[in-house]
C-alpha cells in the first residue's frame, strides 16, 4: 500500500505566491528547477478523519431524503453525505464558495462525484440541518440555486456533458447551455424520488462523445448533416493528405489535383453520397470544416445503461434522428426529453430502467406511447446493422401497422 499522508500537505496552507514561478523558470535553461512526473496528490490526505477511520468498514446506507445519504460503519460511526448539483462549467469563485461551506460545516473536506455533483459530509444531525438550510438559501443573482440538493435514488441526477461552444472546435451543438435548459425543466425530478429507477442523462456535442452518452437512459448527441467543405487553397499546406484519406471510415475521401488561380494544387474530393457526417476528417484536417448552423443539431438516444443490475450494460438507441439547434433554451429537445421521461415514469415498473422497460414492452410500443415518429433514419444501415433487424414474427400490432390488402 502507498504511504498514507494523514493530513493535507502543509504546503496548501501557505499562501499562493504569484511571483515564485517567474523566479524558478528560466526559458534559457528549461530543465532548471523543473519538477515533473510527481502525479496527483495522494488521496488519503483529503479524506475527512471520519472517512479515514472507517475506510473499508462501511456497513450500510440509507437515503434520508433526496440528496442526503446516511452511511453507517461497522465501528458504529455514521456520516451524512449531502449531494448538490453544480453547473460543472464554473468560476473559481464558485469553487471558493464550496470551500467556504466545507470550512463551515465539514472541516474543509469536500468531494465531487462522477456526475459533476459536489458532496459535503457531516457527522451529526444538527450540522446536517444547518447545512441543508444554508444551501437552500444560496442563490445566484438571477435566482437559480447555487447548490441544489438532490440527485440520489430514483431521480434524474446531474447530466454528464462535454464542452460545446465554450471550448471545442468540432461541436454540432452547445453543451452547458443545453444542460441548463434541460435541468431547469426536469428540476423536480432532481429533487425527488418518484421515478421507477434512477435515470442517467448525458450530452455530447459531437460524435467523439467525450462522456458515456452511448450508455445512458436518455442522452443528447450533437450531429452534423452537411459534408465537409474542402478548402483547396489551404489543404495541401495544413493537412497530410494520406492521413485525411485514411481518416474517413467510409472511404469517401479521394485525392485530387485541382486548379486554384491557375496553379495546380494537391487536394481531396469527398464523395458526398458516402459521407455519414462523422467529422473525423475535420479532426485530422483543419481545411475540411464541417460545422453549419443549419446542418447541425441534436439526436436523442435512449435505453442504455452502465450498471450490471438485473440486465447487462447496454447501448442507447437513436429514437429522434435530428432536432435543430434552438438556442438559448432548445425547447424542442427539452420537450421530447421530458415527454420520454414522463411516459417512462407512468408506465415502467419499480426498478425498471428506461431500457429494461422498453425491452419489456417492445420498441414499437415505445414509439406509439411517446408519439415519436418512426422514420427510415432509425433503421440501421451501418456495420452490424443485421443484428437489429426483426428476424422473428414476434411483434405487436401497434398503430404503426396498416393491413396490406392490395400491393401493386
Amino acid at each position: 500500500m502507498s504511504e498514507r499522508p494523514e493530513r493535507p500537505d502543509p504546503i496548501y496552507s501557505q499562501p499562493y505566491d504569484p511571483t515564485l514561478a517567474e523566479k524558478l523558470y528560466n526559458p534559457q535553461k528549461p530543465m532548471e528547477n523543473r519538477v515533473t512526473d510527481i502525479g496527483p496528490p495522494h488521496y488519503w490526505q483529503f479524506l475527512p478523519p471520519v472517512i479515514q477511520r472507517n475506510y473499508g468498514k462501511w456497513k450500510s446506507h440509507e437515503i434520508l431524503q433526496p440528496g442526503v445519504i446516511k452511511y453507517k460503519s461497522q465501528t458504529g460511526e455514521v456520516v451524512y453525505a449531502v449531494r448538490c448539483g453544480t453547473p460543472r462549467l464554473e468560476s473559481t469563485d464558485y469553487v471558493r464558495e464550496i470551500c467556504e461551506i466545507a470550512d463551515k460545516y465539514c472541516d474543509g473536506y469536500v468531494r465531487w462525484t462522477t456526475r459533476n455533483n459536489v458532496e459535503f459530509h457531516v457527522t451529526d444531525e444538527e450540522k446536517l440541518r444547518a447545512l441543508l438550510e444554508d444551501l437552500k438559501g444560496r442563490k445566484m443573482p438571477g435566482g437559480s440555486y447555487k447548490y441544489p440538493v438532490g440527485g440520489t435514488g430514483a431521480s434524474v441526477t446531474n447530466i454528464v456533458h462535454t464542452q460545446g461552444w465554450i471550448h471545442c472546435h468540432t461541436p454540432a451543438t452547445d453543451a452547458s447551455g443545453v444542460v441548463k435548459a434541460i435541468m431547469d425543466e426536469l428540476f423536480e425530478y432532481f429533487q425527488s424520488h418518484k421515478l421507477p429507477a434512477q435515470v442517467r442523462l448525458a450530452l455530447a456535442c459531437c460524435l467523439n462523445m467525450c462522456g458515456a452518452v452511448h450508455c445512458s437512459d436518455i442522452a443528447v448527441v450533437g450531429i452534423h448533416r452537411k459534408p465537409p467543405l474542402v478548402e483547396d487553397e489551404r489543404l495541401e499546406k495544413v493537412c497530410e493528405i494520406p492521413l485525411v484519406i485514411a481518416s474517413c471510415p467510409l472511404g469517401a475521401i479521394k485525392p485530387a489535383t485541382v486548379e486554384v488561380g491557375g496553379e495546380k494544387r494537391k487536394s481531396v474530393r469527398v464523395n458526398v453520397d458516402r459521407c455519414m457526417f462523422c467529422g473525423n476528417c475535420y479532426t485530422m484536417c483543419p481545411a475540411m470544416p464541417i460545422s453549419d448552423g443549419e446542418g447541425d443539431g441534436l439526436a436523442l438516444v435512449v435505453g442504455g445503461k452502465v450498471s450490471n443490475r438485473i440486465t447487462p450494460p447496454t447501448f442507447s438507441k437513436v429514437v429522434i434522428p435530428f432536432i435543430p439547434n434552438e438556442p438559448p433554451r432548445w425547447p424542442t429537445t427539452v420537450k421530447w426529453i421530458k415527454k420520454i421521461l414522463e411516459i417512462y415514469s407512468q408506465n415502467a415498473r419499480k426498478y425498471e430502467r428506461v431500457g429494461d422497460w422498453i425491452q419489456r414492452i417492445g420498441w414499437e410500443r415505445f414509439f406509439e406511447l411517446t408519439d415519436i415518429p418512426f422514420t427510415w433514419h432509425l433503421i440501421d444501415d451501418y456495420r452490424l446493422a443485421y443484428d437489429t433487424y426483426r428476424t422473428s414474427v414476434h411483434f405487436k400490432f401497434t398503430s404503426h401497422v396498416e393491413t396490406v390488402t392490395e400491393f401493386e
Partner: protein
C-alpha cells in the same frame, strides 16, 4: 487592471433564470468582481455561437510544456478582433486526486493560481476525471506548470495518444460494496505510469477506470480500454433478521431510493426473487428465511441494492478485468469484454501492472495509428488476443455464446498430417 469591455449577450442572459445553477450568472458575477476581460469575451463569443449556431474556435493548435506530450489543449478564437483577450484560450488538464476528495486549502490555492494565470473558469471535472482549467495563453503555460509542481504538488493529466488520467469510483471511502480498494489502485497505477501518461507513445488514447462493484458507478465498462470491476466469488453475506425486517416493512427497500411514490408494501417475491436474473433465490415464507444458490448467482447486485442492511458481497474479493470499450468513432461504440474473470488485487498490484505492460507491448507494436485497443482486438480476433497475445486459457466466460458459423481458421499444427499434401497421391485415390 483597466476598464473592461462588455458585450451585449441577450441569449446568454436568458440562461440566468430557472432553478438549475446558472453558469452564465456565475461567470458574469466573477467577471464583474475580478474585472476579467477574458470572461466577458468568452460570454461574448458564446453569444455569437448562440446566434450563428456554430462554434468560433479555430481548429486545434499544438501547445504544451517542456518534456510533456500532453496535458494542454491548444485553442484559438476565430474572432480575434472582437474578442482579443481570448485570442488564445488553452485548456490545462490537472490530474485529480483519486475519487475526487479535496481539502479547501488545496482548492483555494489552485483557484488563486488560476485567477492569476488564467481566465478563472474551470470544469469540476472533465469527463475523463481531470480538473479542467479553461482558458489561458501560451506564455503562461510553463509558469502554470511550475506553480502546480512547486506550490500545489499537482501534475498534468493526459491528452493525446497516451494513457489518459485514470479514474475510479469512491470505493472504500464511503461505499460498503467496494470489493477492491479503488482509490489505492488508481493512485498506484497513476504513479507507476507517469511516463505513459505524459509522453505519448501509444497508437491512440488508452483509458483505465476502476469501479468497486458491478454497479460500476464510474462507467468503467463503457468508457475505458481497460476496465477493472470489483466482484466476489464466494457467497453473498446474509443477515436473516434484517431480511425479515425488510419483509416486515421496518426497513425501506433500496435504501429509500423510491420514497416519493407509493409503490405499495415491499414484496420480496416480486421485487427481489422474481427479478433475480439467474432465478437463484428462494424466500421460504414458512421459515421466513432467504436462500441463495450462490453458485448460480451472476453477481448483478440487484438483491444487494434492494436490501443494503441485509446483504453484502462475499469475502473472497477481487476484480473482473475487461478490455476494449470506446466511443463510436469510428467503427461504432464498444463495451469492454471480459478478459480475466477473477483477479486478486493486493498492493502493490504487480499482477495488474504486468498485465497492462503486456497489453501495451503488443498494442504499441501491432496497433494501427488511431486504433483503440478494442479495435485491435476485433481485428486480430478475441480468441487470438486471449490465447496468443496474453497466454490465457479460452473460457466460456469470454463470450455470450459460441460462434454460430463454422468458419474456423484452423492452425496447421492442429490438423493431423499438416497441410502439405501430394496431389499425385490424391489423384491415385480419385482419378480426375
Amino acid at each position: 487592471m483597466g476598464e473592461v469591455k462588455k458585450h451585449e449577450t441577450p441569449l446568454m442572459d436568458d440562461l440566468k433564470s430557472g432553478p438549475w445553477p446558472s453558469f452564465v450568472d456565475d461567470i458574469y458575477n466573477y467577471a464583474e468582481k475580478k474585472k476579467k476581460q477574458a470572461c466577458f469575451d468568452i460570454m461574448g463569443q458564446m453569444e455569437l455561437s448562440y446566434k450563428n449556431r456554430e462554434t468560433h474556435w479555430k481548429h486545434g493548435g499544438i501547445v504544451g510544456v517542456f518534456g510533456y506530450g500532453g496535458g494542454v489543449i491548444g485553442r484559438y478564437s476565430d474572432q480575434q478582433e472582437m474578442f482579443p483577450s481570448i485570442w488564445a484560450f488553452h485548456t490545462v488538464r490537472v490530474n485529480q486526486p483519486a475519487a475526487k476528495w479535496y481539502h479547501s486549502s488545496a482548492l483555494r490555492k489552485l483557484c488563486d493560481m488560476w485567477d492569476h494565470r488564467g481566465s478563472g473558469i474551470v470544469n469540476f471535472h472533465g469527463s475523463t476525471g481531470d480538473i479542467i482549467l479553461l482558458g489561458t495563453v501560451t506564455e503562461q503555460l510553463e509558469y502554470i506548470f511550475y506553480d502546480l509542481g512547486h506550490q500545489l504538488k499537482m501534475d498534468l493529466g493526459g491528452s493525446g495518444s497516451n494513457l489518459r488520467t485514470p479514474e475510479c469510483c469512491m470505493g472504500m471511502s464511503r461505499c460498503e460494496w467496494s470489493c477492491i480498494d479503488t482509490q489505492d489502485i488508481i493512485y498506484e497505477l497513476t504513479m507507476a505510469f507517469q511516463d505513459e501518461l505524459h509522453r505519448p507513445a501509444f497508437p491512440y488514447k488508452f483509458k483505465i477506470k476502476v469501479s468497486g462493484c458491478p454497479n460500476d458507478c464510474v462507467a468503467a465498462i463503457a468508457r475505458s480500454d481497460f476496465s477493472v470491476i470489483g466482484t466476489w466469488r464466494d457467497k453473498i453475506k446474509i443477515d436473516q433478521d434484517a431480511v425479515r425486517a425488510y419483509v416486515g416493512g421496518e426497513l425501506k427497500p433500496n435504501a429509500g431510493a423510491h420514497s416519493d411514490r407509493d409503490w405499495g408494501p415491499f414484496d420480496i417475491k416480486k421485487e427481489v426473487i422474481d427479478l433475480c436474473p439467474t432465478k437463484c433465490m428462494f424466500w421460504d415464507e414458512g421459515q421466513k428465511k432467504l436462500y441463495i444458490n450462490d453458485a448460480e448467482c451472476n453477481r448483478c447486485m440487484h438483491c444487494i441494492n434492494v436490501m443494503p442492511e441485509a446483504l453484502w458481497p462475499g469475502d473472497d474479493r477481487g476484480a473482473v478485468i475487461l478490455m476494449g470499450a470506446k466511443a463510436p468513432i469510428l467503427d461504432g461504440a464498444q463495451l469492454s469484454t471480459v478478459i480475466i474473470p477473477f483477479m486478486k488485487l493486493e498492493p502493490p498490484y504487480d499482477n495488474l501492472k504486468n498485465l497492462l505492460y503486456k497489453v501495451w507491448d503488443y498494442w504499441m507494436e501491432h496497433g494501427k495509428n488511431r486504433e483503440r485497443l478494442g479495435e485491435t482486438i476485433q481485428r486480430i480476433g478475441l480468441n487470438r488476443f486471449i490465447v496468443d497475445v496474453l497466454g490465457l486459457k479460452p473460457l466460456p466466460q469470454h463470450v455470450k455464446e459460441p460462434r454460430s458459423n463454422p468458419y474456423i481458421f484452423w492452425k496447421e499444427e492442429e490438423v493431423e498430417g499438416g497441410w502439405t499434401r501430394d496431389v499425385a497421391e490424391f489423384r491415385k485415390r480419385h482419378p480426375a
